[in-house]
Symmetry: C2
DNA sequence: AACATTTATTTAGCACACTAATTAAAATTT
DNA sequence: AAATTTTAATTAGTGTGCTAAATAAATGTT
């Protein structure tokens, strides 16, 4: 099969993204986190007590995904869920001390992962890349 | 949380890749294929009768993934599996007529997906992008 | 020839996302 | 006030990959 430039990019994107995800997943396992949970925690480090709907919105994922992440994080003692006093439908998510302690190690792993991915790519090139990514993103959404 | 340029790129890559995959998956469902199976078939269109190990190598995936894809493709009548006459361990994969007929529609969907992703990005920019992708790829592998 | 190792494939089970359908509470309409 | 609609969360089940362990055939060693 002839591989055009365009095709190359699509496949390359897929390959880079899935490899990155797998590497990062392995790295996060060292601190008992799964991929996706780091982003959820990052939102809580900005301020906790928000609802699952707000988390789904922020993470651009679906409610069942939040349900599962939150369940896992609670079982591991990183967060607790409390039902809202005024609205009996909503659950509010709070960090435990154990959850708060994860901020530094996650930040480190994030930076480590970024540097691995972008190694040898200059700041100017990174800007170009970010621009292209944003344009592809708007093509899809 | 402060979002650095680097972090932006990592997240954007993830987002673009997963959205692309979902869109493409939906498109492939119209011709009774799942994501990944198109690449397996593409290899067979170049020449069939190869083994599952060769497919795993080519697709850069693990043997169990090939087992599952091949099982599904066989159930849908796109391929048949035949045990090798000389080596009783290996299965050789052959296209059926139904499988051969998929080449054109898959090619069409591929091009459609590429054009959607790269819409508004000039040929020069595509070259830059491809170069950057390749460099990120070599950073990871 | 018997035993051990390697190789190809399969099975079992997990991670992480999704959609569709369900439950339960709140808000709106009549 | 009762009935309907909306909203938040959950459950059930699927897709697409993975790893670890099992099976079964071939090859290598003694």
């Amino acid at each position: 099969m002839k591989v055009s430039v365009d095709c190359d990019i699509r496949e390359s994107l897929d390959k880079v993204s899935s490899k990155m995800r797998r590497d990062y997943s392995e790295s996060l396992r060292e601190i008992n986190l799964y991929v996706g949970q780091d982003n959820l925690l990052a939102r809580l480090w900005e301020g906790d007590g928000i609802t699952q709907m707000q988390l789904a919105d922020h993470l651009k994922c679906e409610p069942p995904t939040v349900t599962n992440m939150v369940k896992s994080l609670e079982q591991n003692g990183f967060i607790i869920r409390k039902r809202d006093g005024k609205d009996g439908r909503v659950m509010r998510i709070y960090l435990t001390d154990k959850g708060k302690e994860l901020e530094k190690p996650v930040d480190f792993k994030w930076k480590q992962q970024q540097e691995k991915l972008l190694n040898g790519i200059s700041p100017e090139e990174r800007l170009v890349l970010r621009d292209l990514m944003k344009r592809m993103e708007s093509n899809l959404f």
